[in-house]
């Protein structure tokens, strides 16, 4: 599941050009998405790569983030590795800031 979350975050960062708003918004979103991606990748077991997961068809960066949050929400937090709560908190913070 975290593999798919990381894949969505990677896609969100690449798709940042589709984000409405100023250059500063785009830059801040992309940097936060990059930091989130690293956070998510650190939670993956050794040897697990996100390249094995098909790239999502969704192009809207905010929808991609929401998709990642929805995926995590489907699992009890205590079943996920330590550090997932920090990822969820930062993810929700980013979604909240960019939701019109």
């Amino acid at each position: 599941m975290l593999q798919r979350v990381a894949r969505l975050l990677v896609a969100a960062e690449v798709r940042v050009v589709d984000l409405p708003g100023t250059d500063a918004d785009e830059c801040d979103f992309a940097l936060c998405a990059a930091l989130l991606t690293s956070q998510a990748l650190r939670l993956l077991p050794t040897g697990v790569s996100v390249d094995d997961v098909t790239a999502p068809a969704e192009r809207d960066p905010l929808a991609l983030l929401r998709g990642a949050e929805q995926l995590i929400r489907e699992h009890p937090i205590e079943d996920l590795p330590p550090g997932t709560t920090a990822l969820v908190t930062d993810l929700c913070d980013l979604i909240g800031r960019f939701t019109p």
Binding site: C27, L35, L41, I77, T84
Partner: protein
């Protein structure tokens, strides 16, 4: 190194709140017995801190009185009864305490000691003081709310296998422990509900009254310096696509915030507004845009073999972002020049930003060196995707000479092996990096008039003689130029 605690009351409360969040982050590794042994102390120190906080004078109208104190009183009374009960029981018994709940208790105790060191505070008629005290109360209960949830999770996790053992084998070697856990759970639940009701009523609205210290002037200086070191180290030692894109994104962000700060400095007279508008504004934006183009390009590479970036680099990037936003962002929009000026010494920050422009050029050279180095490798799929994109013309054809054949060996693509850039991709990336070097160099040259990042220029001999004759404050010739008349 001194072991003395220099944290303020506000910082201690914030640390306690963060520690309580940490408890929930590691919900799977909690030790129920240790937490139950420590929970009582955490609540007791919270109650002592609560009692030390200033209240509204009794003469004040009800609308101006502080939040009711019943929540803390209820939580303290319920917890005291709970701990008295379990002290007599077979479990948890004596043993180690929980380090995080202990840290919370220590923070509360230290905060109470700080408030009490000059004698009892008593009622205060100052609305700002009372608002700050109400915010502190909210922080205390919020911390306990998170922590008690953690204790409940730990006790639940402790009880579950014991219950399963009874269900499967019909016997339990730790029946006493299970009985205590079963009796403790509803009582912890009650504490959580009392705390939760208070939090729902006050959080986060009451925190608006929290006294906020002015941003530490050196934070942004320290953050920019640390970022510069880590970015250079990461790209020189591990020039991965991820590091290149994170460095470029952060440089774009830094120059964007630099423009906001320098614009505020120009409007408030901290730097020469004419020089800023006519010389620096455009090249600065050009450098920012060049970093943005670079970031987008390396982000495509990074997406094809996503790996976590070095922790030191991500931490430095997050800190530099936070330090700059602390100055330039007000709620969710860009702060006004007056607000920015009130938050930082704009002359000093402008001096730091002069260094940033020079460092930006140096980093751009480092990026260009990476594109020229045949020993640096990238994931095959990323190189292939870049080669396909580079060989396509705007009208859908292919660049003459690039051919239809695969750009990268199939076996490399299959395993996504690390390979050097193809000639076409190298040419494209080098051109992009050359443009970046030119744009950042132009911005650094255009900012040459900014105040020196070191000491002000030595005054001329004539000025020295004048200064010796007149005991006035020393200002450099540059700082006293246009826009600094006030």
């Amino acid at each position: 190194m001194s072991g003395r605690d220099h944290r303020s009351v506000g910082e201690l409360l914030l640390d306690a709140d963060h520690t309580a969040r940490d408890v929930l982050m590691d919900a799977g590794d909690l030790d129920a017995a240790a937490m139950l042994r420590t929970w009582g102390e955490a609540v007791q120190t919270a109650a002592e801190l609560w009692a030390a906080l200033p209240t509204a004078p009794s003469a004040a109208p009800p609308s101006q009185r502080s939040a009711p104190v019943d929540a803390m009183g209820q939580v303290a009374a319920m917890t005291a009864a709970l701990t008295r009960g379990i002290r007599r029981g077979p479990w948890p018994g004596p043993g180690p305490t929980d380090p995080r709940l202990q840290a919370i208790a220590d923070s509360f105790a230290r905060a109470a000691a700080l408030i009490n060191q000059h004698g009892p505070v008593g009622p205060s008629s100052d609305p700002a003081v009372r608002a700050d005290a109400d915010a502190a109360r909210t922080r205390i209960i919020h911390t306990l709310y998170l922590a008690v949830h953690g204790v409940r999770l730990a006790v639940l996790a402790h009880a579950r296998p014991l219950q399963d053992a009874i269900a499967s084998r019909g016997k339990n070697t730790a029946a006493g422990s299970l009985a205590v856990a079963r009796s403790v759970l509803p009582r912890l639940d009650a504490v959580e509900q009392v705390a939760g009701a208070y939090v729902a009523r006050t959080y986060p609205a009451t925190l608006a009254g929290e006294h906020r210290k002015a941003p530490r002037g050196s934070r942004v200086v320290d953050a920019l310096a640390a970022w510069d070191v880590h970015a250079h180290r990461a790209i020189a030692a591990h020039p991965t696509a991820g590091h290149l894109r994170l460095a470029a994104r952060t440089q774009e962000l830094i120059l964007g915030h630099a423009a906001v700060i320098l614009s505020a400095a120009a409007r408030t007279g901290a730097v020469d507004p004419y020089q800023y508008a006519t010389r620096l504004e455009q090249p600065l934006d050009g450098a920012r845009a060049a970093w943005a183009v670079t970031a987008r390009s390396w982000a495509q590479f990074a997406a094809h073999a996503a790996r976590p970036d070095a922790t030191a680099l991500t931490t430095a990037a997050a800190e530099v972002r936070a330090a700059l936003r602390e100055i330039t962002i007000d709620a969710s929009t860009t702060a006004t020049p007056a607000v920015i000026a009130s938050r930082s010494d704009l002359s000093a920050t402008a001096r730091t930003l002069a260094t940033v422009l020079a460092a930006s050029t140096d980093l751009a050279h480092l990026v260009r060196d990476v594109t020229l180095d045949p020993a640096v490798t990238f994931p095959a799929r990323a190189v292939n995707a870049a080669a396909v994109a580079a060989s396509a013309t705007p009208c859908g054809g292919t660049v003459p000479g690039s051919g239809e054949a695969a750009h990268v060996a199939i076996k490399d693509l299959t395993t996504n092996r690390e390979i050097p850039l193809t000639a076409l991709v190298r040419t494209q990336e080098t051109h992009r990096a050359q443009r970046l070097v030119a744009a950042t160099g132009a911005a650094a040259d255009a900012g040459a008039w900014l105040p020196s990042p070191t000491l002000p220029d030595p005054p001329q001999e004539q000025t020295i003689r004048t200064l010796r004759a007149r005991p006035v404050q020393l200002v450099s010739a540059r700082a006293a130029g246009r826009g600094c008349e006030r």
